[in-house]
């Protein structure tokens, strides 16, 4: 808003289209997506990643893209958990951001699965392989299985939640195309009575069913997510190995879910010109509580994890941690993970003056997101760098340009899908609120 007014003042004579900034935003996103696509194509057409032309003979098998994938699926689980706190578990104050959270969860799981699908060396083989010959003992298989299932459930859940409003949209839409499409998405023709008022009983049932589905979805999300934790936890690498890994993943999911929801809801409200006050402000304060609490618990998790591995310095576990404490990842760990990612946000959220200010909340959520991303990166790379029992020891790894390009592209893709979703779906406020047609 401010920016647009500023522009108007500056270049007063040229009349800008009303949503000029919106088009710039779309344009930037599309350019970035193209950059990412270029990176991905390069990764797959050049000889294999871990060696040429990426010069790092260290050959860390799981790299930046895997870290990004973990980040995305952690976020989707967290978003799903946080929004179902509002939808299913009765945290009513979260209501205004629930739909946004669900949309974001859907976007992140879509992009997340896309990342892992493009990260593996044989992207075209994987779908057929997963249809034809799977290994039920493999945790990775169950992880992908449950994430796919989760995505399906999430879509169904969202459909049930949004259906009523989409039907309203299809009735009110000015263009015939819009009417047709919304009618198609909401399967309006299945309705016995065509009209704006549907039987209360049906709407009620759909609503309840959406809640049940929400419960199932969260459940599947947590299964899938702890499976991801176990994918790391079962390996022999000392930094990863351990039964607490899945639990830790669930916890950190809540952190990144709350942080991302906070960040994107504030940004979205600003961009749509919604004043953050009243119920909306309350919901962000609720997110602040969730985020702050999860961050504090996480701090203890990190602390005890390190202490328990360092207490009796077995050479293996000690070496795994030295990478973080004073090894190649020390800046990532001390500055990004601990400082920017955990301590400063806790402070910001805990101190009343800053915690109650939306701008500070935004800052805290951005910091947490950065911290979580670095934490994912460190988790994946740091675990592998400690692997020393081989002829293929991994020494150091720094992301290649193409990988970074791909990651940027994936983030831009998330932004684009989210923007489109916000534009076409009834996410911001229900129809009932807008039309004043209450129960």
């Amino acid at each position: 808003m401010y920016v647009r007014e500023y522009f108007k003042k500056k270049i007063g004579r040229i009349s800008l289209p009303d949503n000029f900034l919106f088009y710039i935003w779309l344009f930037v996103l599309i350019v970035l997506i193209e950059v990412g696509a270029y990176g991905i194509v390069q990764i797959h057409t050049k000889p294999i990643m871990p060696t040429q032309p990426f010069e790092s003979y260290a050959g860390v098998p799981w790299r930046l893209l895997v870290a990004t994938y973990v980040f995305f699926v952690v976020s989707t689980t967290g978003l799903c958990i946080v929004s179902s706190l509002g939808e299913v578990f009765g945290f009513i104050r979260l209501k205004p951001v629930v739909r946004m959270g669900l949309l974001l969860a859907l976007v992140t799981i879509l992009v997340g699965l896309m990342i892992i699908g493009l990260e593996i060396e044989r992207p075209f083989r994987a779908p057929f392989a997963f249809l034809a010959h799977v290994n039920p003992y493999s945790l990775m298989f169950w992880m992908i299985m449950f994430y796919a299932l989760y995505m399906v459930f999430l879509i169904i859940e969202m459909w049930f939640i949004l259906r009523d409003d989409i039907i309203q949209l299809s009735i009110r839409s000015p263009s015939s195309l819009g009417r047709f499409l919304y009618g198609l998405i909401s399967l309006k023709f299945l309705e016995p009575v065509a009209g704006s008022y549907r039987p209360k009983y049906r709407r009620k049932l759909e609503h309840e069913f959406a809640k049940v589905l929400g419960f199932i979805t969260v459940f599947v999300a947590i299964i899938a997510h702890s499976n991801l934790g176990a994918v790391f936890g079962v390996t022999y690498l000392p930094f990863w190995h351990g039964p607490l890994m899945p639990i830790y993943f669930i916890l950190s999911a809540i952190i990144s879910g709350a942080a991302i929801l906070m960040f994107s809801s504030i940004i979205t409200f600003w961009a749509r010109g919604v004043k953050i006050k009243g119920k909306i402000y309350d919901s962000i304060q609720m997110l602040r509580v969730v985020l702050g609490f999860a961050l504090v618990v996480d701090l203890f998790f990190i602390a005890w994890k390190f202490v328990s591995k360092f207490y009796f310095p077995s050479p293996v576990t000690k070496e795994a941690l030295e990478i973080f404490l004073y090894g190649p990842l020390k800046i990532n760990f001390w500055v990004f993970e601990l400082g920017i990612g955990t301590l400063i946000p806790i402070l910001i959220l805990a101190i009343p003056i800053t915690g109650r200010s939306v701008k500070w909340n935004l800052a805290a959520s951005i910091m947490t997101i950065i911290g979580i991303f670095v934490l994912r990166y460190d988790l994946v790379i740091g675990g592998l760098l400690g692997k020393s029992i081989s002829g293929i020891t991994y020494q150091m790894y720094s992301p290649h340009v193409f990988e970074i390009m791909a990651v940027v592209g994936f983030f831009a893709l998330t932004g684009l899908i989210y923007t489109i979703g916000i534009k076409i779906l009834p996410i911001l406020g229900t129809m009932e609120e807008k039309t004043g047609r209450g129960e």
Partner: protein, 153 residues
């Protein structure tokens, strides 16, 4: 109120049915559908793997054409324990096309070549399985094969 409870029950029932169906589908797919197909994959791959041609021959194969060297080598005191192809490079292709210059075995007469095995480095001490010499002091000017015929030692 009664109506409300009814709706809730109905919704939960639907959800339950959905979960049961999905779970049954997964179990059926994972444990009944996929393994049988997998067996044929395994069989096929084992055939492919077994059908790869060896590159590394054996002295007996060389003996067919290089009987002179072979008979020297087989009676030699020491090098009879090492393969022709250790010194001459991998030679199955050469056996198939003996006159093809591309696949001609290499003959390396440099001192460094013998040093790969005979250079004295600390891990190869007295107890090791090989006799070592210090390349820089053991008759430095000459090629090794001048005094030690490789096929005969």
């Amino acid at each position: 109120m009664n109506d409300e409870g009814d709706i809730k029950k109905k919704a939960i029932f639907f959800g339950f049915v959905l979960v049961v169906f999905v779970a049954a589908g997964i179990i059926f797919y994972v444990f009944y559908l996929s393994p049988p197909i997998e067996k044929t994959y395994v069989q096929k791959w084992m055939e492919i793997e077994a059908s790869r041609l060896p590159q590394y021959g054996s002295p007996e194969l060389c003996s067919k054409c290089h009987f002179e060297q072979y008979s020297l080598w087989i009676e030699s005191e020491h090098h009879s324990s090492i393969q022709c192809e250790n010194c001459h490079g991998i030679g199955m292709k050469h056996i198939e096309n003996p006159y093809d210059g591309n696949y001609m075995p290499r003959i390396d007469t440099s001192r460094e070549f013998c040093g790969i095995c005979h250079e004295s480095i600390p891990p190869r001490d007295e107890s090791s399985a090989i006799k070592t010499v210090n390349l820089s002091t053991h008759n430095p000017e000459y090629s090794c094969i001048l005094c030690h015929l490789p096929h005969r030692t």
